[in-house]
């Protein structure tokens, strides 16, 4: 116990001496929340579109105008298709609408009128927005135009409601969800260097010849960074709820509890990387690849897990951010849902314990790998046989 306390004290002093880790624990959350708040928008994105009208009737002119009035569309008028092509190739516009010259005639006859929509397929998301905006604007226009009378009354009306987030504000889930990415980064990066550094600087050899046991080394690393991580996490949540006013419907105790479980897994990943590789360069490289990138791509924050191919859906199960993202989004927006909390908490605990066991196993108490059991302890009998 005394040894452990000494190691923890040592680690905390080291953290305090090199302020880079403290700075990172508080600066990174701030930058990241600012970006997710103002730089990222997954809702209705504004796009720039080109419009070319070949049907010079006054009615159709109002359609062109309604493109101009939409708050989601910046419209630019074109006279020929060639210009549209160049504009799309240069990413000046993300798509274009071409109204054919028989458009109003067909509508007047009560027929289906074609509207040609061109998108820049190299940016799939915006291409989808272009399509759906064009459709929505055209249909709205149709409903209020003089052709509306002949448009039929729908037999079934679809009433869409969005639960938990009636304003449909993506920031309400993306900002809390981003905590998962920030905490993965902080948890993994800080710890991925610390054990490697002790090996590189030779302090490990001196430590191994004292009464220090594996468990001391392991906990002596876990605990200080856990404290730092929790401080950073609390700061993160404070920014989220108090400064940026993200609505929180859950329970603070539950939030901190599950967050601490998540932190536990992140530290485990970082410490594993560090104790296996014993080299700061390799450790940071691997930490990036198993930490930041999967947290961004496979956590379900940006890309829905349900839409992945089955194999990859299973793959995400071994990654802690998945559970945390699912938990924190729900905790913020739907309040404490016992099933979600327990399921995610259990998974995180299991992962955390597995990682802890792995750190324990990978913490070598010697300067080299333990050789095969046959060589471990030469039995006296074998020794005596030899002359």
């Amino acid at each position: 116990m005394k040894i452990l306390l000494a190691l923890i004290k040592k680690e905390i002093k080291q953290i305090l001496r090199d302020p880079s880790s403290i700075i990172i624990a508080f600066v990174l959350p701030l930058i990241s929340i600012l970006i997710y708040m103002y730089g990222i928008n997954l809702d209705s994105v504004r796009v720039t579109m080109g419009i070319k009208n070949d049907d010079p009737t006054p009615e159709v002119a109002t359609l062109v105008k309604s493109f101009g009035h939409s708050k989601y569309v910046n419209s630019i008028y074109f006279d020929n298709v060639k210009d549209i092509e160049t504009a799309i190739a240069r990413s000046k516009i993300k798509g274009a609408v071409i109204i054919p010259n028989d458009f109003s005639t067909k509508l007047a006859r009560g027929q289906n009128a074609d509207l040609l929509v061109i998108t820049d397929g190299s940016e799939v998301n915006t291409a989808n927005y272009v399509q759906s905006y064009a459709l929505a604007i055209a249909n709205n226009w149709l409903a209020t135009s003089k052709y509306a009378n002949s448009a039929k009354q729908p037999a079934i009306n679809t009433e869409v409601r969005t639960w938990y987030n009636p304003d449909l504000n993506s920031h309400y889930f993306i900002v809390p969800g981003s905590i998962a990415i920030t905490m993965t980064l902080i948890g993994i990066l800080l710890t991925s260097l610390v054990v490697a550094r002790e090996w590189e600087r030779g302090t490990m050899e001196a430590m191994l010849s004292t009464s220090v046991k594996t468990i001391h080394i392991v906990l002596g690393k876990y605990i200080p960074y856990f404290i730092l991580g929790m401080l950073s996490l609390t700061f993160n949540i404070f920014l989220c709820i108090v400064i940026f006013q993200i609505p929180f419907r859950g329970n603070y105790f539950v939030l901190l509890l599950v967050s601490s479980l998540f932190l536990f897994t992140s530290l485990g990943i970082g410490l594993n990387v560090s104790s296996v590789l014993k080299n700061q360069f390799l450790a940071s490289m691997v930490a990036m690849s198993v930490g930041f990138m999967p947290a961004l791509m496979l956590s379900g924050l940006m890309f829905p897990i349900n839409s992945m191919p089955v194999f990859f859906q299973h793959l995400t199960r071994i990654l802690p951010p998945r559970y945390y993202v699912s938990f924190i989004e729900s905790e913020f927006m739907a309040g404490t849902v016992p099933e979600i909390v327990t399921a995610n908490a259990i998974y995180l605990t299991i992962l955390g314990l597995i990682l802890f066991a792995a750190v324990y196993k990978n913490t070598s108490m010697r300067l080299e790998k333990y050789p095969s059991p046959a060589l471990r302890a030469p039995s006296p009998a074998r020794g005596e046989e030899k002359p």
Binding site: L115, T158, L193, L277
Partner: protein
């Protein structure tokens, strides 16, 4: 003199290569890890919404409602259906994220359809993931509207008179240029290639000088007749070559295994990647030059990388950001890197457009490399 210069730079480059390349573990991590990540992320990351699980509360239990639900069951987008018979269960399914959307059909559904009145179906989407929620409910509305159209044409008597058939309608016909089927993979692959090259290059360079400082070898380098400029060259070329090779390997995989057509000029692509990576090398070396320890270097690289990736336009378009942030992205080499890889790869961007995007990258590279070179010696104390 010039020969001395080349000799020294070459020697330093060779040394850098050996330190990076000799260790099989390092080799595997630098080349192997990005490729594994490329394969995983490109297959997994998609914004197309599929495999939607649905909770159904059918109060109507009529032929019509079952007919509507069978449309859902036949749709490839929808996967599992959970039929519930009370509101509490319905809510629970949504609460616990068992399902992404819920369908609620009122008991007057069948009656309304038969009587020609408008029937209502409620679609409830899970706002904890607004983007996939709205896409999923969009699909649901489509199916419902489609069924509605069929029902009305079969139940309503055809309107008599002046040849007005089923009414005026707008048909949207879509052409998706550069990616006819709007495959998300085409988009995400170019993004991932750029992102992985970024990560590798940044870590390789940001640690290179900091590590020498920590181990004391940088003194030895400074005492040698190598000038700052020579050290700068020797330090930037090897990571540049390794990152170039990595990017080329990844591009090859994208073309060969993912069958994505390469639309542009390969030469332009090479030049663009070279300059993009050079700018990133500059940023990395600058961090490395100002930091004393590897920890500081990697943490500053991180603090740069996260915003750079998120503000590169890969998740949400730059035009959509607040104006201040839009200006800020002019400093972000990753932004131009992504525009270039995507533009040349998928759109066949021409020389003039490539050049415009290269200018900011060249400026970033020049500034960061100059700063890094100057900082080598200023840090001597």
């Amino acid at each position: 003199m010039l020969r001395d210069f080349f000799r020294r730079v070459l020697a330093l480059m060779k040394k850098e290569f050996i330190t990076i390349w000799n260790d099989p573990k390092t080799k595997g991590i630098i080349i192997g890890l990005p490729i594994v990540q490329l394969l995983i992320f490109s297959n997994a990351a998609t914004m197309e919404v599929q495999n939607i699980d649905t909770a159904v509360f059918d109060r109507s239990q009529s032929v019509e409602s079952r007919e509507l639900l069978s449309r859902f069951e036949n749709s490839p987008r929808f996967r599992n259906f959970y039929y519930v018979d009370n509101e509490a269960d319905f809510k629970k399914k949504l609460d616990t994220q068992k399902v992404q959307i819920g369908l609620m059909i009122n008991n007057d559904f069948s009656r309304n359809i038969k009587s020609g009145e408008t029937a209502t179906v409620q679609v409830i989407s899970d706002g904890r993931q607004t983007n996939s929620a709205s896409i999923a409910s969009g699909y649901a509305s489509q199916i419902i509207t489609g069924y509605g159209a069929e029902v009305s044409s079969s139940t309503k008597p055809p309107a008599r008179g002046e040849g007005v058939m089923s009414g005026a309608n707008i048909n949207i016909s879509v052409r998706n240029w550069f990616n006819p089927n709007l495959e998300y993979k085409w988009y995400i692959l170019t993004v991932i290639v750029a992102m992985l090259s970024l990560v590798t290059t940044l870590i390789l360079t940001s640690l290179s000088i900091a590590r020498e400082r920590e181990l004391g070898t940088f003194d030895q380098l400074i005492v040698s007749p190598l000038s700052s400029f020579e050290i700068l060259l020797g330090k930037s070329i090897p990571p540049l070559i390794i990152a170039m090779a990595l990017t080329m390997i990844m591009t090859g995989i994208v073309i060969i295994f993912f069958h994505i057509p390469f639309a542009g000029s390969f030469l332009l692509f090479m030049i663009s990647i070279f300059i993009s990576l050079l700018a990133i090398v500059g940023v990395g070396l600058y961090f490395s030059a100002i930091c004393n320890t590897q920890q500081q270097a990697i943490l500053s690289a991180m603090t740069f990388m996260m915003p750079a990736v998120l503000l590169s336009g890969f998740i949400s378009p730059i035009e959509d950001m607040p104006v201040a942030l839009q200006y800020l992205t002019w400093l972000n080499p990753v932004r131009f890197f992504m525009v270039l890889t995507r533009g040349i790869f998928l759109k066949g961007m021409g020389f003039a457009d490539v050049f415009i995007n290269l200018i900011p990258l060249i400026i970033i590279a020049l500034i960061t490399l100059t700063l890094a070179g100057r900082t080598f010696k200023r840090k001597l104390g």
